[in-house]
Symmetry: C2
Subunit: 337 residues, 2 copies
DNA sequence: TTGTAAGCGTTATCAC
DNA sequence: GTGATAACGCTTACAA
């Protein structure tokens, strides 16, 4: 039972193996009668073509590659990554593609993995995440002409095909929202200061202040690690200031919640005395008291668009413009009044 | 540059293509001199064999399959799945395998996906999760002799190869822990009632009650969806009882937190008036107030063992015993006093 | 010890 | 319109 192949179908239907292939590929030239006969046998045996043979013959696997750059436990609780992966899978499936996920913990193994995926032709294209300023992967893939899409920002914009959530815009949106609520002393708590996300959102924050005639005060900007504890520590620092802020833009929900906890611990009422806004719109936002306003990255759209574009690249369709921006969305809740 | 193949290496090294293949497969019969010559060219061109051709020839793809049974947004915040996937990827990589992840939202598409993966031979084996009591996938895979490992329980134990976190034991452990704390009216909030996990933990719960001479009262057992809201709804029901429980065993941390919230909303003090215990030991446990006691499933071990066994099956090595149990661990926190 | 050649299951290009 | 036949890139008998 295991190994039905086209020649087997052909034998039972009394036609040649080539005809079976034609029928299965909807060749219009094939006679109705033969088509029926072949399809009947195909149906009966539940024949499906062997993906391995198709891959070799067609020179493509219909597999998209995604490489995770974290240790397993770090990935486990990263909703961004899970959501991304799930949406990629879904969109890929719609186009008849599958997702192959690999992991690379160290920078060295990263290079090795990308090199392997590239050379073995195990996948037809790659989705890149967490780009660095001088990304070797991008250089390599570009010079090899291997299809890939970057999730993130890259300069110059037309050099490669990329899809980005608008981090600058998101930082701007969050800050302006607070300004419109009447706040003037607004703090920004960033994550690791080297990350592009941190810097981009900070840029949006500064831009919003500027546009509304508020002087930028570096005392209101702190960087910390992306965790509850990080948020708590950052807030402690901000509360030491002679003029503490009346509103806080935090790099992610975890930091925001940590900061909010600390403020509450100091007897500060939220949102009356201090407003908070986070990023990513994680379920955490609904779990805390008061619920947390958050700027949502539209992960499903991000993933969908990136996947669509990658498949277009693979199949040789034009992709224009090269860089696409997916706007963020603000989800207003109690923490901003 | 793109397409280096063995025949190309052979030409440059002045040997036959078969010799190149032998060198790459460490055939001991090949002469040292030739080996050097071939490897030099291989090195120089950075040649790596084409995975597609190897797949067809060897009749195996070195791909493991995992099918997710949820909508993307549901997966996004499911740490169990992410942790599992990450650990599978890591272990697979150690053995030279990759992970192919697919998704099936509806039961119908589920069958279709499994059938496709099975028939197209796109993957060498499957890791099954979330088994149901009469799992059609298992029947089908078994009759086809397709390699797979079930993460979960299955009877009879020797029928198929499975790795289970000890759900019965975990349910028992959680319940007994509460009993030892002095509780007698203990509720159990399960997930979807069809799931094996739900039933297994319930069995452990009943077993613990029985062993400590506490009568089983079905009013204390409710089923709900695995979410904050599900937990909240279930708790509302439990609070309607003439004699509400003094302790709650919830199927997962999300449900537990939802239930805890609702209890708090009704002015119930935790853990003084009501104790809570969840499952999975997610970061959520540390984020809530009071922190949540939880029974941890050892996901990395689970994933590692399952992956190892699947690969053993694929490569025709014996796997004994067929069923393996990975014990759980209780992480005590504030919610149980 | 090495080269020649068959074949893995497809698709596509030929003749007929 | 249909049936032989040649690839796709690799592994492995078998021949030399």
């Amino acid at each position: 039972m295991a190994d039905i192949k086209q020649s087997e179908i052909a034998r039972l239907a009394g036609v040649s193996q080539a005809t079976v292939s034609r029928v299965l590929n909807n060749d219009p030239q094939v006679n109705e009668e033969m088509r029926r006969r072949v399809l009947a046998v195909v149906e009966m045996l539940g024949y499906v073509p062997d993906a391995r043979a198709q891959s070799l013959r067609a020179q493509r696997t219909r597999l998209l590659g995604l490489v995770i750059h974290r240790a397993p436990h770090a990935l486990a609780y990263d909703p961004f990554f899970s959501a991304l992966m799930a949406s990629i899978i879904e969109e890929a499936g719609r186009h008849g593609y599958h997702l192959c996920v690999d992991a690379a913990r160290t920078p060295r193994s990263q290079r090795a993995i990308y090199e392997e995926l590239l050379r073995t032709r195990r996948v037809d294209g790659l989705i890149l995440v967490e780009s660095e300023t001088r990304d070797q992967r991008i250089v390599r893939l570009t010079e090899q002409g291997f299809p890939f899409v970057l999730l993130g920002r890259y300069d110059p914009p037309d050099a490669i095909c990329s899809v980005d959530n608008d981090n600058v815009g998101a930082g701007f949106m969050a800050t302006e929202f607070l300004i419109r609520k009447g706040h003037r002393r607004i703090a920004y708590i960033g994550g690791a200061s080297g990350l592009t996300v941190t810097r981009d959102r900070l840029q949006g924050y500064r831009h919003a202040l500027e546009q509304h005639g508020i002087a930028y005060d570096p005392h209101y900007v702190v960087f910390t690690e992306s965790s509850l504890l990080g948020g708590q520590r950052a807030m402690e620092d901000l509360l030491q200031l002679p003029q503490p802020p009346t509103a806080v833009v935090a790099m992610d929900d975890l930091i925001a919640v940590g900061a909010m906890r600390t403020a509450q611990g100091h007897g500060i009422r939220i949102p009356d005395e201090m407003a908070f806004i986070g990023f990513n719109d994680t379920p955490l936002c609904e779990m805390v008291e008061p619920t947390l306003t958050s700027v949502a990255i539209d992960i499903p759209t991000l993933a969908r668009v990136a996947t669509e574009r990658l498949i277009a690249l693979i199949e040789g369709r034009p992709v224009e413009p090269r860089r696409l921006i997916v706007p963020a969305q603000l989800r207003e809740r109690e923490s901003t009044g």
